[in-house]
Symmetry: C2
Amino acid sequence: MLYAVIMAGGSGTRLWPLSRQNHPKQALRLVGERTMFQHAVDRLTPLFPSEQTLVVTRSEHAPILAAQVPELKPSNFIIEPEGRGTAPAIGLAAIHLQKRDPDAVMAVLTADHYITDTEEFRKALSASSLLAKEGHLVTLGIPPESPSTGFGYIQQGESLGNYGGLPTFRVERFIEKPDLEKATWMVESGGFAWNSGMFVWRVDRIMGEIQKQMPGLYAKLMELSAAIDKPEYEDVIKALWHKVEKQTIDYGVMESAEDVAVIPVNIGWTDIGSWRSLFNLLAVDQNRNSWTGPHIDLDTEDTLVINDKRLVATIGVKGMIIIDTGDALLVCPKEREQDVREIVKELKEKGKDNWL
Amino acid sequence: MLYAVIMAGGSGTRLWPLSRQNHPKQALRLVGERTMFQHAVDRLTPLFPSEQTLVVTRSEHAPILAAQVPELKPSNFIIEPEGRGTAPAIGLAAIHLQKRDPDAVMAVLTADHYITDTEEFRKALSASSLLAKEGHLVTLGIPPESPSTGFGYIQQGESLGNYGGLPTFRVERFIEKPDLEKATWMVESGGFAWNSGMFVWRVDRIMGEIQKQMPGLYAKLMELSAAIDKPEYEDVIKALWHKVEKQTIDYGVMESAEDVAVIPVNIGWTDIGSWRSLFNLLAVDQNRNSWTGPHIDLDTEDTLVINDKRLVATIGVKGMIIIDTGDALLVCPKEREQDVREIVKELKEKGKDNWL
């Protein structure tokens, strides 16, 4: 049976001040009337009944997300006491799935990406599950639109044939976030895809790789697995989870795993990692501005304004990001959007927790 | 006897969104801990006992201003049902003063100017009152620091001698707000001063000029004067004030009046007419930024931020004005500050009264 596991543990510091510790990116209405988490569930609904949709998230975020999708029951949520990176989160989901269904195929999906072609997305998941059933660790690759230095890349190797109507390939190698020169070379060469962070595999296969490559994590997962459905589970996870080494699934497992495959997918995928990537998705007026709440402007161009009830007035503003929330305001040129992270870092260092 | 008449009827649209219909510029804490109106009274206190200090303002603003200066009693306030320009406001103050003291000398002063050298200011008022007692209409002229096109100018004529230690001159002519070329010529020529809008004269003299030059206004003022201290006063002013023609004292009276004098004064005068003029007065950090409330920044220069409790975060912002109030936000480069007026105009046209 195919299960969806939505990874919803991140916080999204580059979307500050809208994204906060207690109001994470996944819970925000960034595109349209639905939150990122609701979009993530919506696009799975035709393929996965709710009992086959699991969500990995942190305890403080679970109630917020649960309230947004009432059809998901508490048993759909797998709670991490704290975020330890994608490798532990995926291992945690895998041991829970193994208990329910030792033959489970799990699709590791995200809540912080926006996908415009949801039909093609589901087709890609179906194709991936066919390949995964044969034992491959399948990654969804995004044909690169630009030499982005913000993503890892996957080099395609020999063809593994067509699955569900899509060509599939053995992975030659994973490339960590490159510099611009290397990225440009890869895009021009062809045969490289962005690593979307979406994977499909059999639980026994991924657990086998974790056992081989991350024995420390594997031992802890086994200890935890023995406690599933027992009264001591909460105490066990609390006692051991903070000792789990932080690691990504890419670095911890995928780069050295056997039988890794990639399916390049054209699904209209956007990583909403920052204000600029969101701006690219939103509808704009004739001056290329995107507005949310009440506003009035003179000579404003290429500017993203997100506000709620307060009036935002701009005069002669060009290429800016203006994020106006209840208790904080960000003003920043588009080009500096990556530095929002620095603001959050400084707030943390200064102990300004009420603005985090 | 010398009386101070503080003109506090304006609204200050170029200081939107801090300045509002029901929270006018005079009532704002723009420089230091005192409001503009409090500063205006403070600088008079050593020279004028409170019973000689009158305030002309609109009915909706009187309670706000009265609360800010408790030593002023209701009898100190002269209420205009609505603003009709400086000529009617001054005429209204004059008829009230005439009732109290037919020989009164009135100093027409402002609440929207900031004066750093208050001792020199009081010295100028004393000198002006000596000249005014002799029958002159005295204007305080500001030696121009730059060829500003935002002020009217006064051309000095022959000397009228020294009064109170200050040289005084007959006014050759008043020049309305000039273009840059003319302003530059005047500043380079010398012998021109900015028109500060502060005047000192005997009430009988100004009433005589109003009678001669603005007979329509004079007739209404006489009708009103007859009702002062009578129960029907409120009804009379309400019935006639909206019929009074809007006019400035400069255009309506001063440009054609007899015996007009000017005293150039060095009092550290600033017209806080707009955000930029305020910015010039405020203390700045090493990057020439002025901050009010909580803030965090990266690479921010030459920027004015006014906020209250919300955190303002700026990244890579240069030469901007950011005014963050409870219900509205303004973002505007310094160079565009005059266009704030256009925003207010558009809000008015669109009936967005809650933001006016």
